[in-house]
Symmetry: C2
Subunit: 372 residues, 2 copies
């Protein structure tokens, strides 16, 4: 194996693929990136078995890739990236010099990095499944940003650490919940499809980081895995086992109170009390009368805060409801809208947040029981 | 106690003083800032017994300070700072409303923060000692930046966690060492003085952060503590007990090899191998002949690097010497000079770094023994 390539092109792809390598895997080889070179280009591959990223760099003017000898090698991801990043030239020369010992050189600087032979890397099935559709990068980013944050951080119920994607005809519902709050995004597909899968939120966040342009993303899925095709990059994620509960019946539809707020102002007002925590948990109490809206926080240890806010609009009578400040702020932020409408049923009932100008997203938050 | 003050002025002073408060102190009150108000101004005080910071805000146009009622209270540093930072106005109103419960309010937002009565705060002796001199902020910053990094991180020999200041007549020597390297800065004083004290490096780094202007800094010291007067701020540090060894005899004066390097290029060349560590320790081997200078690093696990560098000048014959890459880079950086001269005695002897245009700083590094 012997080739030379543009340092910036190589580094960008290595960094992207390297995110799938793991320093904590029981298989040491999975902390590496497999570099495979043929006369068409280079294929970079990394996998921690949970997520796999493959990227192809073609021979082209932009990549300045020139292949002298084909072959493959696995190099520890962080050292390979460090070596390439620090090299003193715009062109990087890579060459296997002895077994899997690989020379990486620039102008004066030269590394010899210990590698593992390419054929030692576990075979990963990257077959493209039959179910396939495309989404714009923007839409896919929006789905991930508006749902994945609401997933559970705890492994108590593993299925809740992922976002559920359920397609029925041309409707795709994307739902995340940690059982105290829920985020739901609904979009229309171009063609009718039927599937019901749950994708780990951490992997979706990696996908979100990779798609940085306005191109379409191809999505292929089976009952075993999901693939995202982003330009020359393929990201494959495992799916979570288990049945995701049907949450639609949990979302209330009749409301007695309607509060419209300026998102930025309301977040700022809430955030002012974010340090008033009890055992690390920050709750906010909202009190409405027909004229005034007050928000209060209280920490036994630290003290209290209160603020009278000016809503854009309020319909309904007197209501007192307490909720997690963090959940409320995260739900508000997810809309990226100037105005958000908060709809309440009753004091101890789940309430929802919606964007008056975009019905595709519903955020639901359960109130917190208090004793005052 | 009741006053109002410019939010930005109050916040800046609270942040500065708050650096002396401690969340880990056995005395909970030391996690607070003592706010004392009289008709001249506000005095803010915090101390973790190791370092004490006091700052005075006068009644002035800039501070917009207006005192309605004198008094004092101690408020938890991080909550006080959070509350003031997040307030929704440019003017902050502060008022004790019940015992030590303190109201902090802006426009609509209002906090009530639990405090402790001001007289509960431990009395701290801030008497100004007799030995007093002034340094320009620039010179004091330079002393700290060029020495403190070389102090020991380990408490094995506590005296080595500080910078030794030894004045004899008009010469002030500032020395730091961790016993594997040494930094020495010599400056001239305006007036003859005699003292020999050692100041914890961590406290000096706090001083360095506080002096951000071009004003003179007043320095007062006794055998118990040292004080830095920076504008309206007083920083008082305890001293380290014990005798700092005389290190001047350790610094070699006759050299067989002289290597002049471009600081930036040489640091970049060294840094290229910074990930080639053995048990977390990164060593670099320098090999010279009369024509070529080569630097090499080797890690059993990762691999190796080598690079031929072009020195600005080299005098001396063939030499092979191994040293800590981090120590070398930190010593080189301390000069903030374009060219640094490295002077060697022999392969297993301490070597020194100097700035050919400024003799005030000497950096010494001990080589590392290797077996190849």
């Amino acid at each position: 194996m012997k080739f030379s390539i543009s340092k910036s092109v190589f580094l960008k792809s290595l960094t992207s693929v390297g995110r799938a390598s793991s320093n904590h895997s029981p298989l040491p080889i999975l902390s590496g990136i497999k570099v495979t070179v043929d006369h068409q280009g280079i294929t970079l591959l990394a996998s921690n078995t949970n997520i796999t990223i493959q990227e192809i760099i073609d021979v082209s003017e932009a990549s300045q890739l020139s292949v002298a000898e084909t072959g493959s090698v696995v190099l520890e991801s962080r050292y390979l990236i460090e070596a390439v990043r620090k090299l003193d030239s715009t062109l990087v020369n890579v060459e296997i010099i002895d077994g899997a010992l690989t020379r990486i050189s620039g102008n004066n600087a030269e590394y010899e990095i210990n590698g593992i032979k390419g054929d030692q890397f576990p075979a990963i099935d990257l077959t493209k499944p039959d179910i396939f559709f495309t989404l714009s990068a923007y839409k896919l980013k929006e789905i991930i940003k508006q749902t994945a944050f609401a997933c559970s951080q705890s492994e108590d119920r593993p299925i809740f650490t992922g976002v559920n994607f359920r397609a029925d005809q041309k409707t795709l519902e994307c739902v995340a919940t940690d059982s105290y709050r829920l985020a739901k995004k609904t979009i229309e597909l171009d063609n009718p499809l039927t599937f019901n899968i749950t994708v780990p939120a951490t992997n979706l966040n990696e996908v979100e980081k990779t798609i940085d342009d306005n191109n379409d993303v191809g999505i292929a899925l089976s009952t075993k895995y999901i693939q995202f095709y982003v330009g020359k990059t393929l990201i494959q994620s495992r799916l979570l086992d288990g049945m995701f509960p049907d949450v639609n019946r949990l979302i209330p539809t009749d409301f007695a109170y309607e509060l419209s707020v300026d998102t930025t102002d309301f977040i700022a007002a809430l955030d002012r009390s974010s340090f008033l925590k009890n055992d690390g948990y920050w709750t906010v109490r909202l009190e409405t009368s027909s004229e005034l809206i007050t928000i209060r926080s209280r920490s036994q240890e630290i003290g209290s805060s209160h603020e009278v806010i000016s809503p854009i609009d309020y319909k309904g009578g007197s209501l007192k409801i307490t909720f997690s400040g963090r959940y409320m702020i995260e739900a508000l932020r997810s809309f990226r809208a100037d105005v958000v409408k908060i709809l309440f049923v009753a004091e101890m009932q789940a309430f929802i947040l919606v964007n008056p100008n975009d019905e595709s997203v519903v955020q639901l938050v359960l109130p917190v029981r208090t004793f005052d």
